[in-house]
């Protein structure tokens, strides 16, 4: 779906933002692009969505070089959720969506009210102006805008930003449903929970370079210490022991009355990010 080879971009003579990125995103894959602010995430997304021009290297989407595909057909196939909910504040959710949907072929459009219902949008607010909505409601309308055209390729920039935990869970469910339909999803985020739970593969980007690219599971396992920490009770005393996982193959290697908890010492995605890039995600 997306093929990027030696992608470079510079905002000026001394402001090189991307230093030769290489990655591919397969059809139907959820691909995460993780990096802190200023790392080159948004620049990459803007090049992929055709907003920024003048890049170096080769970028192809839908099997065509991006420089050649920037017609209306290209934009009909993509959906973009921006980091901020960009909507007409004086129009209602329905009017906003009908307006944005009107640029796509009729047979491609989804039903606006059904879509908002799937995103658990409060029905009382359907006809009220966006200016009266909470941040979470605006984010829902923005997500509906990105999905209203049934895109084959979906770009999501910080999709769960501004949502409460249940909203974040719902969005992840919606993204999963999109993937099941065959939509390819390119997620740009610095939210490691989203990346860990959603993405088939993630790329760590820092200072315009990809520092690592693999599945979240592999990234964590490769760097796992293969230890577990066990809390247990023995003769009325609470104790803690750290043991190597191979030792567990023959049972628990110490005397105990009751096991209280077992914690694997697998690193988080953020730990991995710091390890690969030498800096945090936020």
């Amino acid at each position: 779906m997306i093929k990027v080879k030696n992608l470079t971009f510079s905002y000026g003579k001394d402001k090189q933002a991307l230093h030769g990125l290489d990655f591919t995103v397969e059809d139907g894959e959820i691909f995460g692009f993780l990096g802190p602010n200023g790392s080159g995430k948004s620049t990459t997304q803007k090049i992929l969505t055709g907003i920024l021009k003048g890049h170096g290297g080769k970028v192809s989407l839908f099997g065509q070089d991006i420089s050649a595909v920037h017609g209306q057909k290209f934009f009909q196939k993509i959906g973009v959720l921006f980091e901020f909910p960009y909507l007409y504040a004086n129009l209602s959710a329905v009017d906003n969506l009908n307006y944005f949907a009107s640029f796509y072929p009729r047979e491609q459009r989804r039903d606006v009210e059904e879509l908002l219902d799937a995103l658990e949008f409060k029905p009382d607010f359907l006809k009220k102006p966006v200016s009266s909505y909470s941040k979470g409601m605006r984010q829902r309308v923005s997500m509906a805008r990105a999905l209203v055209s049934n895109p084959r390729l979906l770009f999501l920039d910080e999709p769960t930003s501004g949502l409460d935990p249940s909203g974040a869970v719902l969005f992840r469910k919606i993204i999963e449903q999109e993937r099941k339909k065959g939509t390819t999803v390119f997620v740009t985020t610095h939210n490691m929970v989203d990346a860990d739970l959603l993405c088939d593969r993630v790329a760590f980007i820092s200072n315009g370079n990809i520092a690592a690219l693999d599945t979240p599971k592999n990234l964590k396992e490769k760097n796992s210490s293969h230890r577990v920490v066990m809390d247990y009770l023995y003769q009325g005393q609470r104790e803690t022991k750290t043991i190597e996982t191979p030792e567990l193959e023959e049972g628990i290697p110490f005397a105990h009355d009751e096991i209280i908890s077992i914690h694997s010492q697998e690193p988080t995605l953020e730990d991995m990010f710091i390890q690969y890039t030498g800096r945090g995600l936020s």
Partner: protein, 330 residues
């Protein structure tokens, strides 16, 4: 493409409507019309200077009926005291002397000449009358032209910038970057909304203030000039809104542009202030184009070439600024 343009056009109309732009335009139209019909025209229908003659020997036999006779110089002084614009003529000493309260030098001269001409109306040469406008028609056309110029140069320009600043503030311009729509349509729909609104305003203002028959006769030429000025000001408004950070910065630029566009033109065209450099002021030519349209005077083709070139250049600059804006960071 037509469907996309219609969607953008409808949305821009809703933006203007929710921003009370049409209401404001209607209010300005009512205000201007009331000012012209109930204020300006009445004021300009001023009676000619009263002329008072003291002629004890009855030497002025061929005088006009407009001349009023007084019986003494005391009466003359008393009547001029109550009518300071009036002109007295003293014919008691043979040669007629004009007596008046001092005003501006050239106006005093004009008043005296007028008063003396009334003594021999039959020998005063009849001037050749140019044009077919009555004094009231002329005044109506002049003031309508000025108000239309002011509306287009100052008020409409503010409206288009306000709508774009709102869209910029809401971030929706960036959404249009990823929509399957020709990006230029975003600008063209705005220009079309403002152009149509300005043309409608020009039609109503002209018909309401210069009369149906006179107004309809000059309307095609007036609409052409309105379109030129409307497009130019709308493009300047768009450019300012795209280049400047916020509406506060814009209000300062607005003052500078409105003063630059309007003040010297009004000063030079409507007062006795002489500005030698006014020929180099671009808006002077636009203003004169509009005035010539109201008075049916021919306009040189060079003016149209210049106007179209300016519109094309401004559009290209706006396009560049727009493409820069949609690629900006959130």
């Amino acid at each position: 493409m037509r469907k996309d343009f219609c969607a953008l056009f409808k949305k821009d109309c809703r933006m203007l409507s929710s921003g009370k732009f049409f209401l404001m335009a209607a209010a300005f139209l009512a205000l201007y019309t009331a000012y012209v019909n109930f204020g300006y025209i009445r004021f300009m229908r001023m009676e000619p200077y009263n002329v008072y003659l003291y002629d004890p020997a009855g030497t002025q036999t061929g005088k006009s009926p407009l001349v009023q006779t007084v019986s003494s110089m005391e009466d003359m002084n008393a009547v001029l005291l109550s009518d300071a614009n009036g002109v007295g003529l003293d014919a008691s000493a043979g040669e007629v002397q004009a007596v008046l309260y001092k005003g501006a030098k050239h106006v005093d001269r004009h008043r005296a000449d007028y008063a003396l001409s009334l003594l021999r109306p039959s020998v005063s040469p009849a001037p050749e009358i140019l044009g077919t406008n009555t004094p009231e028609q002329k005044v109506r056309k002049e003031i309508t032209c000025e108000l239309l110029f002011f509306e287009l140069a100052a008020v409409g320009f503010l409206g288009i910038a306000a709508i774009l600043f709102r869209e910029k503030g809401m971030g929706v311009i960036r959404v249009h970057a990823i929509l399957p729509v020709q990006k230029d349509l975003f600008l063209l729909s705005k220009l079309a909304v403002f152009l149509l609104s300005d043309l409608a305003f020009a039609v109503l203002l002209t018909l309401l203030n210069t009369g149906l028959t006179d107004g309809a006769a000059v309307l095609p030429a007036v609409l052409l000039q309105t379109a030129i000025l409307s497009l130019m000001m709308a493009l300047v408004g768009l450019l300012c809104a795209l280049l400047l950070k916020d509406f506060r910065q814009f209000t300062l630029a607005y003052l500078v542009i409105a003063i630059f566009a309007a003040t010297p033109v009004f000063l030079s065209a409507n007062t006795s202030v002489k500005l030698a450099w006014i020929g180099y002021h671009p808006f002077y030519h636009i203003y004169m184009g509009l005035k010539n349209a109201y008075f049916g005077t021919n306009i040189s083709p060079g003016y149209y070439v210049g106007a179209v070139s300016v519109i094309v250049l401004l559009f290209l600059a706006v396009r560049l600024a727009f493409h820069r804006e949609i690629g900006k960071e959130g």
